[in-house]
C-alpha cells in the first residue's frame, strides 16, 4: 500500500528517470508520509529561533543539545502516539514512552526524566457512553505510561492534562524526556568507510506496519495491525547496554527506529553522516519467517536501535551487547557514495541517493482564516457569597483543575533520587543535576484558547509554561514544542498551524529563548472532525541554588502579594467552559513587555530572598491559585480582592479571568517585597492579604460582595479530589 500522491509520483519519475519498484515505493512512501517527512510543515518550523548561549554548537543530531555548565549537556525530546493510543491506549502510550526514550538514548545521553501531556474527552458531564470511553482511555493510557516508565527505572516527574469534548473518541498522548551526559561522552555521529552497521534490540516483526502512514491519515476504523507492542525490559537492556558502550567509546553513530521503521532510520542516518549505507535485510533478526522485504523495511517493531561502530571496535561492542543479552544483527556497512543500497540475500533490491529518499518534495498547502466569530453577550451569575463559594468549589472539582494524584501516584517519580519537586507539588517539576544545579521542566497546552485564536492562544501557552518555570524559581532557557492539528489539507487548519508557528517565533525571539526540539503532528481527526488546535509547549529552566527552589504552599502569617493586571478575559476560560459559555468572552492576550517584566520581578524577589511561597495564576484564575496555595500549605488565608490591580467589570471576571503574566507571592518580609517591586518601573503589583492559621478557611473579601466568601479547608480538599473520586467510582469502566 502506497500513500504517494500523484504529484509526488511525477516528481519521483522525473528525478529517478525510471519507474520505482514496489519495494522502493513502499520505502519512499514511509519516509514521505507527513509524519516522517514534515513536507507540509518544514518550511515554517525552520524559522524557529534555535540559537542561544545555552545551545551547544557543532553537534550533528536531530535536535539541539543544551550546555548546562560544568561540562554537562542536556537533550530533550517530545513525541506523541495519538492514533495508536486512541485504538489501543495501553500499548499506544507505552510505546510512546519507549520511542521518546530511544530518541534521548541516540545522542548517548542517559534518560533521567519523563513527562506527559494528555488530552481526552471529558470523563463526566457528557453522554455516559462517551464518558465511559474517556475513562477507559485515561485508565489505560496512565497504566501504559506507568508500566513502561516504571519498568525502565526512569521517573515520570510531571504531567499536564486537558479534558475537552473536541477530543471525543480520540486522545492526545504526548511524552517528553530529558537526558544528560558529559559533553565529551555524547555520540559523535561521524563515520568512515567500512564502519559496521548493526541493528540492536527487539526482533523485527509485522507489528506496527504502516504506523507512520497510519498517523498520516484520519482515524476511520480500528486498525489494530498498526499498533505497536511494548517490551520495556528489552528497552531497559538497550539503555544500559548502549550507554555502557557509549561510555567505552564504542559507538560512532546511533539512531533509534521509530515512525517508518528502517526506511526512515536508514535514509536519515545516511544523510546525517553524509555517507552511504549498504544493508542486507536478510541478516536482520526477525520475529517470524516469511516477511517480505517491504514488511521488514517499514515494520515499526519497538525497542530497536541502529548502531554504527568501527571495524576495530566491533568485537568490543558485541561483548557489551552480549553482557546484556541484547540481540543484534550485523546488517551492513558504511560506503562512500551517498546512496542507500538495500540487498536481500545479496541481491540488490534498492539503490537510491539517500538525500532523495529523505527530502520529500514540500507541499504548499492552502491556508484561509476562518470567519470571525461573533462575541456573544456576557452572562450573569449569582452574586451571593454562597453562590460565589459554590462556583469556586465546583471549579476546583473540574477535572481540568482538580488534583491529578489518581494519575501520578501510579508513576514512580522518585527513582534516581533526583526528584526535588514532585508531581502535584508545585508549578513545574524540579530535578537535581550532576553539576549541582537544578532543572525545572513543564509542559502546557490550552486547546480551548488555541481554538478561539491560535496566535493569541499559543502566546498564552508560551507565557503560561514559562511562568510555571519561574514559579519554581527557574530561569527559562529553552522551549520545545509539539504542534498537533487536524488535517493540513483543510485551509483553516493550515492557517491555524501557521499562526501557531508565528506565535512561537514572536515569543521566543522576544524572550531570547531557543526552540531546541519539537514535532508536528497533523491528521488528528476522527469521524467527528478535526481536534481543536493543540500546540503543547514545553519549557526548561535552570535553578542555580537549592534556596531558590519555590513551591506554592503558604505558611501562617505570610503576607500575600499579587504581581500583574487582571482584565475581562474570560474567553476560553475554565469557568466559562464549565458553565456552558463556550462562545463567550475575549480570550486573554499577552503583552510581551509586561510578561517579561513580571517574570523578571519575581526572579528578583527570589534572588532577594524574600519569597516564601509562590504560585502563578492560570486555569481557573486567581480564585483557584489562592485555593491551591491554601491547600498546599494547609493554611487559611484572607484576601481583599479590592486590592487586586484590575480593570474587571464583575467579581466573576476578577476571580476567574485567566489573564496571563500574573503571580501570587507569599512573604514574611513585606517591606523587602515592597522595596524591590517599587523600584521596578511600570510594574503592577499589590499587597492583597495574609495567610492565617493551620487548617483555617480561605476567605475572600470584596466591597461589592454582600459578605465574605468562605471556603473551608475540608471542602476545598474534597472538591480538589474529585478526579480521583470519578475514576475510583467507575473502576470497572
Amino acid at each position: 500500500m502506497s500513500s504517494i500522491t500523484k504529484a509526488e509520483d511525477q516528481y519521483m519519475r522525473k528525478k529517478l528517470r525510471r519507474k520505482p519498484s514496489k519495494f522502493e515505493l513502499d520505502v519512499i512512501s514511509a519516509e514521505w508520509s507527513e509524519h516522517c517527512s514534515y513536507k507540509s510543515s518544514k518550511k515554517f518550523i525552520r524559522k524557529f529561533p534555535n540559537q542561544s548561549k545555552y545551545v551547544l554548537q557543532g553537534v550533528a543530531s536531530d535536535a539541539a543539545l543544551l550546555d548546562i555548565g560544568r561540562g554537562y549537556v542536556l537533550a530533550v525530546h517530545i513525541e506523541s502516539h495519538n492514533h495508536p493510543s486512541a485504538v489501543e491506549p495501553y500499548g499506544g502510550s507505552a510505546t510512546g514512552v519507549g520511542g521518546v526514550i530511544r530518541d534521548i538514548l541516540s545522542l548517548g545521553t542517559r534518560p533521567i526524566a519523563i513527562l506527559n501531556a494528555l488530552r481526552f474527552a471529558p470523563i463526566d458531564h457528557i453522554s455516559e457512553r462517551q464518558s465511559q470511553k474517556s475513562r477507559w482511555l485515561l485508565r489505560n493510557v496512565t497504566k501504559g505510561i506507568a508500566d513502561y516508565g516504571n519498568c525502565i527505572g526512569i521517573p515520570t516527574v510531571g504531567g499536564e492534562m486537558e479534558f475537552d469534548s473536541g477530543f471525543s473518541n480520540y486522545c492526545l498522548v504526548d511524552v517528553a524526556a530529558i537526558g544528560i551526559s558529559k559533553r565529551n561522552k555524547i555520540v559523535p555521529n561521524t563515520s568512515n568507510l567500512g564502519d559496521v552497521v548493526l541493528l540492536v534490540g527487539g526482533e523485527t516483526g509485522r507489528d506496527g506496519i504502516h504506523g507512520s502512514s497510519f498517523a498520516s491519515k484520519e482515524l476511520n476504523s480500528e486498525d489494530r495491525s498498526a499498533v505497536q507492542i511494548p517490551d520495556p525490559f528489552t528497552e531497559k537492556l538497550l539503555i544500559e547496554g548502549l550507554l555502557e558502550a557509549v561510555d567505552k567509546g564504542l559507538i560512532k553513530a546511533m539512531k533509534d527506529l521509530g515512525g517508518g521503521g528502517l526506511s526512515c532510520c536508514l535514509s536519515e542516518i545516511s544523510v546525517m553522516l553524509s555517507k552511504g549505507l549498504e544493508i542486507d535485510i536478510s541478516k536482520i533478526h526477525v520475529k517470524e519467517d516469511g516477511m517480505s522485504p517491504s514488511e521488514i523495511m517499514i515494520s515499526e517493531s519497538q525497542e530497536r536501535m541502529l548502531v554504527v561502530t568501527s571495524q576495530k571496535e566491533s568485537k568490543n561492542l558485541l561483548k557489551v551487547l552480549e553482557k546484556y543479552n541484547l540481540r543484534y544483527s550485523i546488517i551492513g556497512s558504511v560506503k562512500g557514495k551517498k546512496n542507500l543500497v538495500i540487498r536481500d540475500r545479496g541481491k540488490v533490491i534498492m539503490n537510491m541517493p539517500s538525500l532523495f529518499i529523505c527530502r520529500a518534495p514540500l507541499i504548499d498547502r492552502r491556508s484561509a482564516a476562518p470567519k470571525s466569530r461573533s462575541v456573544k453577550p456576557v452572562p450573569q451569575f449569582g452574586m451571593r457569597p454562597t453562590d460565589i463559594a459554590n462556583n469556586i468549589l465546583q471549579l476546583l472539582g473540574n477535572p481540568n483543575i482538580a488534583g491529578k494524584e489518581w494519575i501520578y501516584q501510579q508513576f514512580d517519580y522518585d527513582v534516581g533520587i533526583r526528584t526535588t519537586l514532585k508531581p502535584g507539588e508545585a508549578d513545574s517539576s524540579v530535578i537535581s543535576l550532576e553539576n549541582g544545579k537544578f532543572l525545572a521542566i513543564k509542559l502546557d497546552g490550552n486547546s480551548k484558547q488555541c481554538n478561539f485564536d491560535p496566535y493569541q492562544g499559543t502566546l498564552n501557552v508560551l507565557s503560561e509554561v514559562c511562568r510555571n518555570i519561574v514559579s519554581t524559581g527557574g530561569n527559562p532557557v529553552a522551549i520545545f514544542d509539539h504542534l498537533q492539528f487536524g488535517s493540513p489539507e483543510r485551509p483553516e487548519i493550515f492557517w491555524a498551524f501557521k499562526q501557531t508557528v508565528q506565535a512561537i517565533i514572536d515569543y521566543c525571539t522576544f524572550m531570547d529563548l531557543p526552540v531546541v526540539g519539537g514535532k508536528v503532528s497533523f491528521y488528528n481527526e476522527t469521524s467527528e472532525g478535526p481536534i481543536k488546535h493543540s500546540p503543547v509547549i514545553g519549557a526548561i529552566g535552570l535553578i542555580d541554588r537549592s534556596e531558590w527552589i519555590m513551591q506554592p504552599g503558604v505558611s501562617s502569617d505570610e503576607s500575600i502579594f499579587i504581581i500583574g493586571n487582571t482584565k475581562d478575559e474570560m474567553g476560553g476560560s475554565e469557568f466559562y467552559e464549565a458553565t456552558g459559555n463556550k462562545e463567550n468572552g475575549r480570550i486573554p492576550t499577552v503583552d510581551l513587555n509586561v510578561d517579561r517584566l513580571n517574570s523578571k520581578a519575581v526572579l528578583k524577589l527570589i534572588r532577594g530572598n524574600v519569597v516564601r511561597s509562590l504560585h502563578d495564576c492560570s486555569k481557573g484564575g486567581l480564585a483557584i491559585s489562592l485555593c491551591e496555595m491554601a491547600m498546599a500549605g494547609e493554611n487559611g488565608l484572607q484576601v481583599y480582592l479590592d486590592r487586586v490591580p484590575n480593570t474587571c467589570s464583575t467579581i466573576y471576571d476578577l476571580i476567574f479571568s485567566e489573564s496571563p503574566s500574573r503571580y501570587v507571592v507569599g512573604t514574611d518580609d513585606s517591606d523587602g517585597v515592597h522595596r524591590i517591586l517599587s523600584a521596578i518601573d511600570g510594574l503592577k503589583y499589590s499587597e492583597i492579604g495574609t495567610a492565617t492559621s493551620k487548617g483555617s478557611d480561605a476567605i475572600l473579601y470584596h466591597t461589592k460582595m454582600g459578605g465574605p466568601v468562605t471556603l473551608s479547608h475540608k471542602s476545598m480538599v474534597r472538591s480538589y479530589g474529585r478526579l480521583g473520586t470519578i475514576m475510583e467510582q467507575n473502576s470497572l469502566s
Binding site: N150, I152, G153, K236, Q409, F411, D412, D414, S432, S546
Partner: protein, 228 residues
C-alpha cells in the same frame, strides 16, 4: 575495610541510588556486583536494590531468585552475613526462600508511589539496631506488588520470633497482612523491606528534609559491620 556488595541484575533500577546513599550517608563505598559474578566470598554485607529484574516476568523476582549468584548468596546468609533486599530485592528474597511469605499484587490493583509512615517493631537486626522500638519513620514506596501475605501458622511464628521489623501506620498502602512492610529471617541477618530507604534520605535541594531518622537503616549496617 568493610566491603558491601550491591547486586545488579538485568532490569535492576536502584543500584546507583543505593550506592550514592551508602557512600554519602553511611561512609561505606559499596561495589556493584553484576549478577554473573558468583564469587561473593570477600563481601561483608549485601544489598539487593529495587527495580524490575527480568521485566517482572512470571512473578516479580521469580527469575532472579533462581540465578547462580542467589545460590551463592544463600551460602552467605547461612554464615550470618547481613543481607538487605529493597522492594524488588525483597521480592527476590521471598521467591528464593531466604525470607518467609510472599509478595503479591497491591489490593488497589494499581502501582502506588507515595510516602509511607512506618512504625519500628524490631530493632535487633543489623539494619535496625540504631532505631528505638515504636518510633515512626517516613519512607517512600513505589510498587505494584507489595502486599505481604503468609499462611496463618507461619504468621504466628513470625510474630512470636519478632521477625516483623516495620509496619505501615496511618495507611496500609498495599493491603499487606497485619500491615507488614518489612520482615527478617529467623536468624535475623536477612532483611526485606518494600519501602525504599535510599529515597528517604535528604533530597538534594531545600524543602522539608525528610531524612533524619531513616538514615539509621544504613548507619545501623555500618555500626554492626565495624563491630567485627
Amino acid at each position: 575495610m568493610v566491603r558491601v556488595g550491591v547486586l545488579v541484575f538485568p532490569g535492576s533500577n536502584c543500584e546507583r541510588d543505593v550506592q550514592t546513599v551508602l557512600t554519602q550517608y553511611a561512609g561505606i563505598e559499596p561495589e556493584l556486583i553484576w549478577h554473573t559474578k558468583i564469587d561473593l566470598g570477600k563481601y561483608d554485607a549485601f544489598v539487593i536494590p529495587g527495580g524490575f529484574t527480568y521485566g517482572d516476568s512470571l512473578r516479580a523476582g521469580a527469575i532472579a531468585a533462581h540465578s547462580p549468584v542467589i545460590e551463592q548468596l544463600k551460602k552467605m546468609a547461612k554464615q550470618n552475613v547481613p543481607i538487605l533486599g529493597i522492594c524488588n530485592g525483597f521480592q527476590i528474597l521471598v521467591e528464593s526462600d531466604l525470607l518467609p511469605g510472599a509478595l503479591t499484587t497491591n489490593s488497589s490493583l494499581k502501582f502506588v508511589c507515595k510516602r509511607a509512615n512506618l512504625v519500628v517493631e524490631n530493632n535487633t537486626t543489623p539494619f535496625t539496631s540504631l532505631f528505638k522500638r515504636g518510633e515512626v519513620i517516613s519512607i517512600p514506596v513505589a510498587h505494584g506488588q507489595g502486599r505481604y501475605i503468609n499462611d496463618i501458622e507461619s504468621f504466628r511464628k513470625l510474630k512470636r520470633n519478632k521477625q516483623i521489623l516495620f509496619r505501615y501506620i496511618d495507611e496500609n498502602i498495599n493491603g499487606s497482612m497485619n500491615d507488614v512492610a518489612a520482615v527478617c529471617n529467623e536468624q535475623g541477618n536477612v532483611v526485606g523491606m518494600m519501602p525504599h530507604p535510599e529515597r528517604a534520605v535528604a533530597l538534594r535541594g531545600r524543602l522539608k528534609v525528610h531524612d533524619s531518622r531513616e538514615r539509621l537503616i544504613f548507619e545501623s549496617l555500618r555500626a554492626s559491620l565495624s563491630d567485627h
